[in-house]
Symmetry: C2
Subunit: 225 residues, 2 copies
């Protein structure tokens, strides 16, 4: 992200934040590839060809790196998991939501693969996650209700509430589910497997799609198979 001077000129990125960013990017890559639990700050430093002391200058411990990555994940989700302003949702928005979800879940896949472990070793993160989850269980409810109001789904308020909860569980548990039912011989989870998770989300609402929206819904469903 470029920084600007008061008169609008792009400022050079100071070396300090460049290193900080490099550490965060490498952490994200290694956590995603190997699982957060198997990556120590020493591994990270070695991977970055940096002394552990230099790494320590930017992040006192691994928890601080995870907290920063979680903040970015949270910000991305906050950015798209809401109703469009000033207009009704359309069936095209459904694709937009699912693509944004797919992208963020893939980019931060280490988070949901071993969430219980990360939260149990960091009280502060656990509390932030709890607020994040509660907030977006509500977002999901508003969005599904938006689809009901737009005549795309036909559901009662109680059904919308249950659907939002199930969607949250399926989305956040999908990576872990894959890890428990596949072996290493099946290969590491790839983006196509995550796409199947989006298909599972669509299955949740499939029984509630109205007649008028069915053909457009089936097109999306087909594309995700």
């Amino acid at each position: 992200m470029p920084r600007f001077s008061p008169d609008g000129l792009v400022l050079p990125v100071p070396p300090k934040s460049k290193t900080r960013e490099r550490i965060l990017q490498a952490s994200l890559e290694l956590f995603n590839a190997q699982g957060e639990r198997s990556v120590t700050t020493n591994h990270l430093a070695a991977h970055l060809e940096m002394s552990p002391g230099n790494l320590y200058y930017y992040f006192r411990n691994k928890q601080m790196i995870i907290a920063e990555l979680f903040a970015r994940y949270e910000q991305e989700v906050d950015g798209f998991l809401k109703l469009p302003e000033g207009r009704s949702v359309t069936i095209e928005d459904k694709t937009r939501y699912f693509e944004a979800l797919l992208s963020v879940m893939w980019n931060y896949r280490f988070l949901h693969r071993d969430l219980e472990h990360m939260l149990s070793s960091d009280q502060e993160l656990a509390e932030r996650y709890r607020l994040f989850a509660r907030r977006h269980l509500h977002s999901a409810q508003y969005i599904y209700q938006g689809f009901v109001d737009a005549g795309i789904l036909k559901m009662t308020t109680l059904q919308v509430e249950a659907l939002a909860t199930n969607a949250w569980i399926v989305m956040t548990s999908w990576m872990q589910f894959l890890c428990t039912v596949t072996t290493e011989a099946d290969g590491a989870p790839d983006k196509d497997m995550l796409k199947r998770g989006i298909g599972q989300l669509l299955a949740l609402e499939e029984g509630f799609v109205t007649e008028s929206a069915r053909s457009a819904f089936n097109d999306i469903r087909q594309r995700l198979r």
Copy 2:
């Protein structure tokens, strides 16, 4: 379970297996109450007022206890997660399945609260769990298909497949979901919270219930609210 002599007399339980059983029961209780990760074999021995050496005589390590408890859980699930023999399923069977599920998920709730951790520290258990999950993803599919064949649900084969997967994910992730969105102030997860999980399972199929089965389905749904 009583043992019988060849001429049908009930044999006394040998002291060895009585102690073994006592260790298993205490482990199950402590794992469920405190989480498997926080209970060591030393805690267990102290709780049982037994020397660690005596405990070690029956189980060389905690993994062996977990493996035995998992075998029992597996046996219970194998016992009910199948279609009735020689007749079609009825809507009453739905209640029976859900009650059996509720009971086994409650009795072995430590298993799904921190599954990733347990499987990542025991390759053999991970492989057994993988086979167990794959087998019962199929059972769930057969059972839902049974409800389609009995005219209770109206779904395509692909929809049945997606439903079975979602049901598996929601059921096995429900305890973990509760743990990430509730605080200690909300109290420890109790059986009523697990019952809400069964309600979430019903929500998955709600959009596919046929007209003729709707009123009976709503009765079950109501009972689980």
